[in-house]
Symmetry: C2
Subunit: 337 residues, 2 copies
Amino acid sequence: PDEEVRRQAVARHERLTKPAGSLGRLEELGIWVAACQGACPPRPFTRPRVVVFAGDHGIAAHGVSAYPSEVTGQMVANFLTGGAAVNVLASAAGATVRVVDISVNADTPERVAGFKVRRGSGSIDREDALTDAEVRAAITAGRRIVDEEVDGGADLLVAGDMGIGNTTPSSVLIATLTGAEPVAVVGRGTGVDDNGWMRKTAAIRDALRRARKVSGDPVALLRTAGGADIAAIAGFLAQAAVRRTPVVLDGVVAGAAAAVAEEMAPGARRWWVAGHRSAEPAHAMALDHLRLEPLLDLGMRLGEGSGAVAALPLVVMAARVLAEMATFDDAGVSGPA
Amino acid sequence: PDEEVRRQAVARHERLTKPAGSLGRLEELGIWVAACQGACPPRPFTRPRVVVFAGDHGIAAHGVSAYPSEVTGQMVANFLTGGAAVNVLASAAGATVRVVDISVNADTPERVAGFKVRRGSGSIDREDALTDAEVRAAITAGRRIVDEEVDGGADLLVAGDMGIGNTTPSSVLIATLTGAEPVAVVGRGTGVDDNGWMRKTAAIRDALRRARKVSGDPVALLRTAGGADIAAIAGFLAQAAVRRTPVVLDGVVAGAAAAVAEEMAPGARRWWVAGHRSAEPAHAMALDHLRLEPLLDLGMRLGEGSGAVAALPLVVMAARVLAEMATFDDAGVSGPA
């Protein structure tokens, strides 16, 4: 983001018809948008875009989730017909949704499978998620998707996730980068029961043991304990910074990918705002680690980008307030006595 | 709100293509909208409406605010030309704004002055804010404005405030009803300095001594230590419940009016959701007192309805999610294993 434009935006906010600072976080958010765009007043967003990265995880076969893996492919179809939560939220927020199959363990329609890396990532408690070639292909897929979207006019990005079992590798990645213990990061995901929670904790423990050996190498970490979908999101988040395009982050899966992306591309985080704090315990750790303060805290834990899209209207409003409000001079309103 | 419809909405949420409860507060919010409308699935909102109640306060002459009183009338003009924060936020949120002069200490355009009760309310540290006839006229004005708006198609309401000095009576009303001490409720308002803060604290202490004598009589309390604008908002909030129309509450002024309105019309609070928690300390006390949990907590402290309008998209999204998402059966998605 542009420091000079940031200063202009701070100064402009002082001249608008309201006490300085009285819009709190909305003022900071508008200033950040202006700095990302390199333009004050900021331009209205014209094409907010959500990309949902779908992928399966071998660990799901070991009882870590409340839902069977076939749901991932079924939900891809649901995204395409507009029936999922993120479709409805995006429609209300003025955003559009694209779904990409990165590693679904099923056949999906050709138009969403162009970046498919493999069918399901490995079971990370016992094997690598990906080969070296696959992790690079997945990261590249995420980067190319950003290029396609930004070239197509997208000016605000959200990465969503869909994949049964995906909170397990996400929790492992976050624990690896923050030094947390397995029981501190494990959450209920889609709503696993107590026995499943114990299996998930054991899987995270085993995967974490493997992951810690490569904790200093973000690409090796994604290969060992991530998954193709998460690697693609990491590439997406890093490339958004390259393309100087602001991102609203979603929950624990995006948070894990963001923590790794910041290792791959230090400073990329300055292009991201945290849309919400999810109910998954590892997510708050990832946000703290990235020093990002969430806009919403509504107990959401769905993924798909839903928490980020719920926060999108705040980003849109923050930009419009900075661009469209009258100044004290314009409106003939007196300043402080 | 309708209990039977509420149960239908809870059951509908269980059938939508997401883990039960995974949208957190958005699910509760959609269920509340359905119950308020008496319809499941809920209808999309067609006319969210913000009414800004403008009024001056005699206490402002005694140095409790950072801004001079003439700003109130100047801001009425700014609302009419669309330059204020609430105009921009409402436009982004799909709502329209009406401003009414209840007690501005200046002449305002005829079209906003139809409910004017007086020019400025009394200085509550030493005299009553209003006469008995005036407090009744103000409450009636708020009730009639709801009737006009609901008859005109409004299906979601916000009460905003504009008035230099209005956080002082608001803090007094909240302290009276919650039993809090003056120093616990006093805030910086629009940004008063340390000397002003001391004057404000003394004014609240003196007004609170007068207000406590009538703490059991909400109309007498508004007369003694409120103001015409706050009394009108209290009438508005009470009448919204009569007209079975949901309200998104704003900050400390709406919170004070809400606390009094709940005394006038017990149970009215079930028609209100708290849009945000303001930076004014008395606001959190009012929300606790009313047992309302805010949707946003962004350090906002502007008034005008701005915090409520910032939360409007969440209410709209919550209703649309409940109405428009596919069910597991519709989408052919498997449920939990």
